[in-house]
Amino acid sequence: MFPSVRQAMAWLHTWFGLVLGFVLMAAFFFGALSVFDREIDRWAIPATRIQAQPMPSYERVLRPAFERMQPTRQAIDAMRPRVDGPMPERYDTVGSWSAYTTHRDPVLQLFAGYVVPNARHAGELVWAEATIDPRDGRLLPDDRLKVGSGFFFPMHYGLTLDWKHLGIWIVGLSALVMLAALASGVVMHRRIFREFFTFRPGRARLRSVLDLHNLTGVVALPFHFFFALTGLLIFAAVYYFPLGHTQLHGLHDLNAQVEASETGLPHERAGRPGGLANVDAMVADAQRRWADDGKAGDVGFLVLQHVGDANGYVSVYRAGTDRIALVGDGIHYKAATGELIREDPAATPVARMAEFLTGLHLQHFRHWLLRWLYVLGGLAGAVCIATGFVFFVEKRKRQHAKDGRQGARVVDALAVAAVTGMVLAALGILVANRLLPEDLPGRADWERWAFWGTWIAALLHAAWRSAPVARALPNPAWREQAIAIGVLALAAVLLNWITTGDHLLRTLATGYWPVAGVDLSLLAVAAIAGASALRLARRHAAHAAGPAYAADAEARHA
């Protein structure tokens, strides 16, 4: 097929990198943003701009909040096809109540699952969700879009294409291609290394683009490899290789039976009513036991299983703030009496490895420097792919211009949309979040439309301005969108000030870092975009002045 291994690798690197690079760009960029998803949530939902809170008291805060919950109309309708007979209006048999928080969450997520009579899969529950203020149990509006954890994060792993998990599959294939691109890039690199010493004065920009591509790819290679691999592993058993639910269903069930008999945690309801002892006392007991093990910490996840039933039990899990591995150290109590049923045993070596690998990707630990390094790693990946696009275009555009072909022009326009357009879309949703009226019905949908609308506008703009590329000249859309990024980033900071009164002097003075951090990052984006626009303008002027001068200017810039 290919005359040599190196050529096979080059083909694969170029073409898979080009086609799936657009997806990878989104995975890296929104992954970098997701590192601070909770902080972006605070910026986007001003009612939740409070300090992070520990898990509140069950008796005082959680129980009243749980008791108020009911599944939404949509949840009931979604469940309807999987039920024989009519769906009831009210749900009073609670399958499970749970509350989840992290060390960066000022708000608390509540989940309630209700038993549905005549459900086809025995045990399938209909679910309700709520967000509360953990200080007083007040219900917070749940229809507000959590722009960080509810939009940027799903963009990172699934492009928000929920139909048949299509987005998750596309991102998964792209992660595999990222691994292949790293491997093939290293194979190609040997030859490229020799070419570094080749003098190419007329092609200075080509060389500097390639330098940056190699630098961001190679310096962060362990980061890229690790994140693509662990990203695949996190979803492997659920989406990519779901053997436990399909081919090896028999083994999975066999294992579940053994586990259930070992743990002593009842899988089903007894059908007899049962009481509930003091849950706060169980939580206090769990914390004492962790402390005795040298693992003192807050509760991250609290679950009440089979609520109101004689088989009911309460599970208390630690928040994984103090270590990389994503461990729960669950302790389980009999609901009716509060007596200890079981402490989760020490993890097996394989489970410890799995917890470490997934924990390092999902980062529930408290380490702000490492968190920023993750952002840098993600952005390095985005730069690596962006320079890959630019290199693809720069290498071909003169030849394509001579042949009258449009390939370089099309790729360049798509690259503009994928690079500056993606930043614009992210800024578009933040600006819309501050501009839309607070009580607008379907506000979250408008915000999403602002995101996609901005992105489509950026693509159309890039296509409309792309004609010069067919004459081997740069697309002015790069410069114009850089200016737009600067304007929108500044606008977002100003709008945050105007609509909430939280300007930087105040958030910095009070040390409210979630909002101050987002504002400072937006200012940094504006500064970088402004500097890039200036540089591109200078280069553009040089091109206008004539090719000889342009080559000279490029050589000086490179």
């Binding site: 096979a8 694969l12 999975h252």
Partner: protein, 107 residues
Amino acid sequence: MSRTASDFPSTRRHGQRLQLASRVLAAILGGYAFAWGLVAASASLMFAAGMGFHDAEFLASLAGVLAFLLAFLWAFVARRGWLVWAVLAGGGALLAGIGSFVQSLLV
């Protein structure tokens, strides 16, 4: 380029495109089938050897992802296209069969 090929440039290019498409499909679909088979066989064998299902599943998935990567790269490097398909699709089916067979012995 050999003389016979230059006599029929369009046929040659057409054939090359088909070959390339076949390699791309083999890399993605064949690679996936092979990885699936490897996960099935290794997870069931590790479970049979006494490991917990979720531990076996995790290790097998790790092996599956890495095998997918190698299969993906090999699909473009290999000399013969038919061999790529035979190893990836045939091997995947064989491995998946081992997985089901081991399961049938245990359940």
